[in-house]
Amino acid sequence: MPTADPPITLYRLQACPFCERVVRRLQALDLEYRSRFVEPLHSRRDAVKRVAGVRTVPVIVDETTGVTMAESDNILDYLEATYGGP
């Protein structure tokens, strides 16, 4: 049987350092996530615009909490606050 999709989707670009920052934190927190690689050209990055209202990456969508968030600083804070334990 196929496993269920992980609740966290990370919109990312290959070799984007801000995205890698989020990846490292997701891995450190042992969270499952699926990667959605998006169009490198900013002006064509409509897939991100539709979910997050911005064309920047990274963006995460967390179905468990209903949170959609851009900006790696904010995402790191969110992950730590939500999944970082007591």
Partner: protein
């Protein structure tokens, strides 16, 4: 006109009644890609799997144009597979106006191996790609129709395959 069509070696590939081999690869649209398993796609219903030469080769354009002209995606899910990178796939789909189509990227042709459709290209050292091949796969993973090129170049028997696709 004198030209040579090359015979390809015989191959063992899934035939009607067999189970389609599972795989996971980046599945590319004009907007990006994400690792996607064949099994996940089949949860949404039957599927036509089209193996094709790398993006940019003339048979690739011919095959996708012929498939688009026949609206194969009207009756059944439709995905392609080639060794081209996700970036090349996204560009190909944009260039050909195939904005609703999805292509798997299988750069090391390991999926070609699983399906018995590998093609070691003469004159391109170290490059193995996919023979032109089409598998129509039911939602329970049973292969309903299979066509694999026995010559190079060769093009799918579109109308025979379309009959199977509409019967699903």
């Amino acid at each position: 006109m004198d030209f040579d069509v090359v015979d390809l070696p015989t191959t063992t590939h899934p035939t009607p009644g067999d189970l389609a081999p599972s795989f996971t690869r980046p599945l590319v649209t004009t907007e990006g890609w994400t690792d996607t398993s064949l099994d996940t796609l089949l949860e949404a219903g039957p599927l036509t799997l089209v193996f094709h030469p790398m993006d940019g080769a003339f048979p690739t354009r011919y095959i996708w144009q012929a498939i688009a002209d026949r609206d194969w995606d009207a009756d059944c899910q439709l995905v392609g597979v080639s060794i081209s990178t996700p970036y090349a796939h996204a560009q190909f789909l944009r260039d050909q106006g195939l904005t609703d189509y999805r292509l798997y990227s299988d750069p090391d042709a390991a999926v070609a191996d699983d399906y018995g459709v590998s093609h070691d290209l003469d004159g391109m050292a170290g490059v193995t790609e996919h023979r032109p091949a089409v598998f129509v796969i039911d939602a329970d993973k049973t292969v309903r129709a299979a066509w694999v090129a026995a010559e190079w170049p060769a093009f799918p028997p579109y109308d025979d395959l379309a009959a199977t696709i509409t019967d699903l």
